[in-house]
Symmetry: C2
Subunit: 310 residues, 2 copies
Amino acid sequence: MTPDAFASRLDRAAAAIEAMLARLIDATPRPGETLRPSRLVAAMGHATLGGGKRLRPFLLVETANLFGLSDEGVLRAACAVEMVHCYSLAHDDLPAMDDDDLRRGRPTVHRAFDEATAILAGDALLTLAFDTLADPATHPDAAVRADLVLRLARASGLGGMVGGQILDLGAEGRWSDDHRPLALDDAAIRRLQAMKTGALLRWPLEAGAVLAGASRDDVARLGRFGDIVGLAFQIADDLLDVEATPETLGKATGKDAGRGKGTLVGLHGVAAMKAELARLTAAAEAELAPWGPRAAVLLAAARFVAERRK
Amino acid sequence: MTPDAFASRLDRAAAAIEAMLARLIDATPRPGETLRPSRLVAAMGHATLGGGKRLRPFLLVETANLFGLSDEGVLRAACAVEMVHCYSLAHDDLPAMDDDDLRRGRPTVHRAFDEATAILAGDALLTLAFDTLADPATHPDAAVRADLVLRLARASGLGGMVGGQILDLGAEGRWSDDHRPLALDDAAIRRLQAMKTGALLRWPLEAGAVLAGASRDDVARLGRFGDIVGLAFQIADDLLDVEATPETLGKATGKDAGRGKGTLVGLHGVAAMKAELARLTAAAEAELAPWGPRAAVLLAAARFVAERRK
């Protein structure tokens, strides 16, 4: 699959996901709800709509597609992981956390609204993600829905994404006596990144397979592919922080070095990590081998992640 | 049931719930998790352990018990609603929200730790609540687990508790041009409170019945009982804010009047709302009539909520 063909496929999926997100985050109260306050709906929309590559939901859609499943339920589940991703950005951007003013070239939620609204919009997005997965409209089999909820909770909670975020703040020296960054070794950096960003890139691969009724072995294999993509994503992100400009990236660069943050790029250098990215792309291809050319889109996604320039 | 007998039953349940919370919020990673960071586990424990009446989980335990169900799964589901309650307190107490230093007579999470940790501990508690409900250890039937997740998400998300919290901040005048509190009428106050506190008091009644396999009619009836208890709870809370002292309450009093906050007590006066509480207790008793003396504990709970002095 050519990079251009991949890009246009990613764009088409992003449009479908954006439309479904807008349907899920609208002002109409659902059964069991009283009223959806307009300020909260607007802030949740600001946090999720209007931009982003939609990589995580794309991976879910394409994994389900690998097993021949493509319906509204797939799009709904895809939106759940994007909601979790976007809630985590809204909270990470808060003054008490990373204190960022810009995200995707637009004001962060607390800059566009205020801190209280950003906290609540994040809380509501996280809750709506589980609402969306548990709703019978996502899949007729309750066992599938409960499994997706449990896997997403494990990927994003205290032993996953949120745990990774607190490790990351700790690594910056926030709670050390001298407030100096910790010198993390290779294993500690990999573990932190597997939690902070890897788990939420693994989930859509597993979830797409679970939704489509794939075998346990196939779910596990796609999970391993997700781990590889997650690691490649983080290395590419760290490389961009060193090499890109704020204009192309839509957010500040050079932040890792400025904070003395431990990254694999900082530890091993740019050249070594570019070689590592090539190795990871080959490993990703090996995991997808059983599906042959049918997995061309997922393989292109792995390449895209490793080679992205923004 | 005498108030003393009820109090000792509530205390025993609270001890069992506290023990289960401690088991769920421990440092051992579960399948699908990498590592549970100690600072996060400690902050989640601070937010949830060591105090509180545990009213919401108690209501779930006693509702399941009404239908003859009493097992570890019931305690787990009961802990889920307490986690949501405690996460909402941790976030509501933040400087950007209500800016409180004390909760149950102890430092709030952001005072005991810091703001970033309090935000993340809240996020992780909310996530762990859904994790706990979706886990097969809570109930063997996935349809029950998915239903509990969906109901809790609706009760606590943008059309429920979180929505109520943003309406509450709005009612204080936070986003009005002159920052003066809004003059809410009776209907608007009731709606706000049904969302902010009512929905999370209704959930354990419905959830206890759903867990025990109760009929749709019984689930609905207990839901209505929960709505009555929720309204009584809020009126009693507003009365305490007028009549109690910070020493007996373990938190600041007089806050509603200080903020010009619209409450039913402020609108109709103390005497009228004490009469309303008596009416609500009678209505609660009427909903429980089909179960006769077997519902004595739930009825005592409704009385306790209406008459509590702290």
